[in-house]
Amino acid sequence: MELFQHIFAAFREFLDKKDVTTVWNADVAHQWPAGGNRNIVMADTMAVELGNPSAESLSAVLWTEDLEQVSDGTITLIGPDIPESRGVSLPYAKIVLLGVNGFNEENTCDRFGDLELVKYDVDLRGFMLRALSRRQNEWCRIDGDAWEKGFSFRILGSELIRLFRETDYVHSAEVVFVTSGKGDVLELKDIMRDVTQIVGALDKMNTDLSFDCSTCEYQTVCDNVSGLRSMHASMRNRRRN
């Protein structure tokens, strides 16, 4: 079941016209130490900030069953990396592309919920993450110690790829970071707007017991994205039984 095909295409177009700063292969063997519970980075020890609520931020996860659309293990950065940004608060976008299989009407909502939670499993010493999934906002801080030890988007991207690959229906994972400017993040937000809508519709199906489409604010989304209606019907039948 493909929900994001048109967004994949628009996103690749976005990447093609941008100056990509760096492309890495994920280094999943290199383990950055875990932070444990002490994962708060306060302003006084912070070296770099990403996606402060007063700036722009975006976090999105897209998946496809067309595995050729995902360059497995690739981390792409557009904009400055963390090591060259000490004392800077950067606008921030993080897009995760996943090659998956076995998505259908019955499991997509649950899987969506699981994939949304993977980012919270990132536990890297000196790295703090706060995220508002509903608004696709992500706010991160890197502390001075981590910065001095070389914390970078390659380390963060590698950890994300490692975690997503642990999910049994995820076969490939690619991460793109954008820190080049507010304009680029806003442009991406525009591209990812449909993701927000589709995610909202999925979320509503997942949590709302109402099946009356005529009063639903996501009616037009379901009209435009093939697969959503059949998924909703499948859920309705499941709950009735």
Binding site: N37, D44, P53, R130, E217
Partner: protein, 255 residues
Amino acid sequence: MKKSTATAICGKGGVGKTSFTALMVNVLAARKDKRMLVIDADPACGLATSLGVTVQKTIDDIRKNVIHSTSNGRKGSRAEVLRMIEYELFSALAEEGNLALLAIGRPEDAGCYCRVNDLLKDIIADLVGNFELVIIDGEAGTEQINRRVMKTVDNLVVVSDMSKKAMDVAKMIHHVAVDNRAVDTIRMGLVLNRARSDREAEKRAGESPLELLGWIPEDETVRDYDFHGRSFFDFPDSAPSMKSVMQIADKLRFS
């Protein structure tokens, strides 16, 4: 995770509780090796003003946002609501150097806050674990003590002025805290504000079951800072009230 030392400051309204808290925060903030969370639990949010910190969002704002968001057709899983509160809570922290301030605000809307309050309590408990020092400027009176809000603090400081009314409230707080077992505090004590001498302070304290931690003289500098809304972070170390608060800080356990 390092152990946090939590200190709550309470007392009758108008006795100088918030000014005392602001001075205490100033003294402790100078200890740069300790990270401090200051919770302005007084609905009036006067502490933030005294410290010159701008509060953009209060706990009550977060509560309203979460309730509004989850009552608009999108219920959300517990994990999602938890993450949402966590994000909002962090964005509500006003940070100044090694200090972060969180204002509780004033609940005004009707409706049930129980679920959100429970989540908030858990998240604040997690947050507290990230700070070596936690200072809580409590609401005036005995309500928060009575509701066991201060149950697990390490130090409970009751501020009173020299008036009988304020001393009666201090006695009431002691009664609720000790006799009603509303507080498991390791140390509880009295700070007398606007006293004139050791002798006067000791005499007044003798009428109270609370141990006298110290007294603060009437100080024009405090009045001046309050009057002009100046930040207590700029308060001079040489001021008599500041010297007294430094001595009181030494008596309390902050390690």
